[in-house]
Amino acid sequence: MNHLSLPALTLLLLLSTIAAITFGPADITPSEAWSVILHHFGLLPESPVSRLRDAIVWELRLPRVLTALGIGAGLALAGTIMQALTRNPLADPYLLGLSSGAAFGAVLFLLAGFALLMPLGAFLGSLGALALALLIAQLLGGATPSRAILAGICISALASAATSYLIFWSATGDSYREILSWLMGSLSGSLWADAGLVGAALLLCAPIILVSGRALDAFAFGDNAAASLGIDVPRLRWILLGATALLTGIMVAIGGAIGFVGLVIPHAVRLATGSRHRVLLPHAMLAGAIFMLWTDTAARTLFDPRELPVGIITALIGAPVFLFVLLRYRRMT
């Protein structure tokens, strides 16, 4: 069933990275992009590229491209994990109130005058929402997937209402625009610090998720089946939920609530690779990165000099792709 291969996706990712750097108002050629990267890694002592163009590549485009890659990879991984853990094909990384909680935290920090700490507010908000959702599920009689989802819906609605309330009473012109762009998801103005944070989150969480592939397969038939195959079900669930929350929290903090990537990419990749997570997870990670890279490139170049929030593009592409995936699923069953 496997029509994708990891080496092919990796090659596509590298080519896409170089290609994406060349897109934009200043005409950068692929060889210039290469030269700048090699130069900064100390592999090319004398750069043939002018200072200004070097700065465009190294200070503007590359951090943004890397941030997009990392966020796409992270959201696709998080979505795949959520779908497996809740045994729910409609699950996405934001399921347990993570994005609404993040939005609340971000808006709260912004309106309180800590605009620079917005990512921290988003991160704290997402973890707070997750903790609250799991607490409620536990109080309902044990954190089973369906209880956690229901509690997440409840927390999500509550956090959205609180966010709207804050915006309604306190936001003015500038903060309004900033909040709106954040809520729709945007990578505009990403710096090396953002790329670094996203990269660190991936380095920390992706290995934990990737080695759990085989154990996740055991969940296909539910908790008892997994336990009978020797899996410590509660422990694995908490570890993966923790890794997913951390990953999603940081992705949302940096890029805002970018929708559809975590929902659609796992489904689209599953069509090609099947559901074995050992295969699905690394493919989804690479596909998510490539998808995010190109949608973000479109977001910053299509309506130049204005930027579109990338969340609009991922939704515009994601919704029909999801529909296509659903149709394919139905035909094949």
């Binding site: 729910n88 336990a227 009978s228 195959l229 069509l271």
Partner: protein, 267 residues
């Protein structure tokens, strides 16, 4: 070399679900676990597998089943549920390969040669070889259940526990599945399965364990255990046992009054 359970009790939320259960499931035999709904059959199986904490002793092949790691237990004992479907896109081979998880490292990138051989043997034993590449969710209930048994067999278990594995199957699929379990038992596996159909229990089991309201009501050979007094005590039904000379065993006839259909009204 059999499954020995002693003084097993289980309390959940302050309620006693199982109380002082003790029985033996002999090696190489099919032991049937029977009793009314809510008697604690599924809970007992879950406790034996360590899904739910319980007190008491569970020994198998001179090892303490409760003291083992989950992984070691999964290499020794396999479990099949009533019916389990999935939303995942898995082939029959993928599902059977799940049975190799207890034997594989988390980093293993694919099934090794030994895994492949065990998977192929399990598919052959359950008659599912021709279905290897089919998607699991396109199979009939009987076929799916055979795949689950194959998945359990891929664990190369010495102990096979099944929770009402026949309850969603038509009669031919039920007979096939029970015959397969008998063959496994004759080859040395200890089989313990919860069953509802008492005639099938009488016919396919060597040994019966009867539960009533979380306690042990009886244990022994079907011919000794299944009598009208016990059926009335455990299920509250009036029943007779008729000897079927052709088959060589008894069949159960229930004497409960059944409301008659209303006479046809010509208006």
């Amino acid at each position: 070399m059999s499954l020995e359970v002693a003084n097993l009790s289980l309390r959940k939320a302050g309620k006693t679900i199982l109380s002082d259960i003790g029985f033996t499931a002999p090696r190489g035999q099919v032991t049937g676990l029977i009793g009314p709904n809510g008697a604690g059959k599924s809970t007992l199986l879950a406790a034996l597998l360590g899904f739910t904490p319980s007190s008491g002793h569970v020994r198998f092949e001179d090892q303490d089943l409760m003291a083992m790691t989950r992984r070691d237990r999964a290499r020794l004992a396999a479990f099949v549920e009533q019916s389990a479907n999935t939303e995942e896109r898995l082939s029959v081979r993928d599902v059977v390969a799940l049975g190799r998880i207890p034997f594989q490292s988390a980093l293993a990138s694919a099934n090794g040669a030994e895994d492949q051989a065990v998977i192929a043997a399990a598919l052959a034993e359950t008659g599912m070889t021709a279905f290897t590449a089919r998607r699991f969710d396109t199979l009939s209930g009987g076929e799916q259940q055979r795949v689950h048994i194959a998945r359990a067999l891929a664990q190369t278990p010495h102990l096979l526990l099944l929770d009402e594995p026949t309850s969603h199957l038509d009669i031919s699929a039920q007979l096939q599945l029970l015959a397969l379990l008998r063959r496994k038992a004759m080859a040395g596996t200890t089989v313990l399965l919860a069953l509802h159909d008492l005639d099938l229990a009488a016919r396919f089991c060597d040994h019966l364990v009867v539960l009533k309201a979380g306690t042990l009501a009886a244990e022994g050979a079907p011919a000794l255990v299944l009598d009208p007094a016990l059926l009335h005590h455990v299920y509250g039904v009036r029943a007779r046992l008729l000897h079927d000379a052709f088959a060589g065993h008894s069949v159960i006839v229930y004497d409960e009054a059944i409301p008659e259909a209303l006479p046809h009204n010509p208006d």
